[in-house]
Amino acid sequence: MMTQSTYRAAGKMIIWSIVLVVFIALFFGGGGAGGFAHDKGRIVAVAILFAAGFTSFFIMLARSGKKKDGGLNRDERDERNEGKAAEITLTIILVYVYFLGIALWAVFQGKGSVPAGWMWFLAYSTVFLGMIAHGLFTLLLASGKVGNGEG
């Protein structure tokens, strides 16, 4: 049996993992970053995907509200786990943006400019990564696989 926190974390991970896979397929399958910024079809498709992801996410949040029997399905431990997961996620995002930025600079420094498509990729993928990482680490902390024995 799951608490509200773990249910939402699992839902978040599943929804945004699916969105990430479809995003990568759309982004790289349609010709990569080079022409993305000029490809209105792919831009609209990714925007729809993004909106669908958030719509599904908010529906999942709404469906996991209060327990029907009025019981408690969330407590201090859940809040602590979510807080720790947010801290870990922040670090992961900082490292991800740093390394992707450095990698783009290293690859394109001789060409004078970075294709705008990579900025789209950075923007979208940062959101997806943040969502997935937060869900994953909330689940890991709740299961006691990492960071247990808080004292």
Binding site: M1, T3, T6, G71, L72, N73, R74, D75, E76, R77, D78, A142, G144, N148, G149, E150, G151
Partner: protein, 73 residues
């Protein structure tokens, strides 16, 4: 920062109180059953407020349920 090691006798106290279920204790203490499971496995140290609420459910003092067992691992 060194971790404080807090032991508890929640499992024993439950059995001494009519084999109270984890769910019943959780409901009465205001937490989830998963937190009681984590407490009994020594994987979670509760806040002071929750520790007091658990002790109150058993009609005990906080020291009878939770024991400070050193501050270094």
């Amino acid at each position: 920062m060194a971790k404080a090691e807090i032991r508890n006798s929640v499992r024993r106290q439950r059995f001494e109180h009519g084999e109270m279920t984890q769910q019943e204790l959780a409901d009465r203490a205001g937490c989830t059953r998963q937190t009681i499971v984590a407490l009994e496995q020594g994987k979670y140290v509760p806040s002071l407020a929750l520790a007091f609420r658990i002790a109150r459910v058993f009609g005990s003092t906080i020291e009878e349920v939770f024991e400070f067992a050193g501050n270094e691992k």
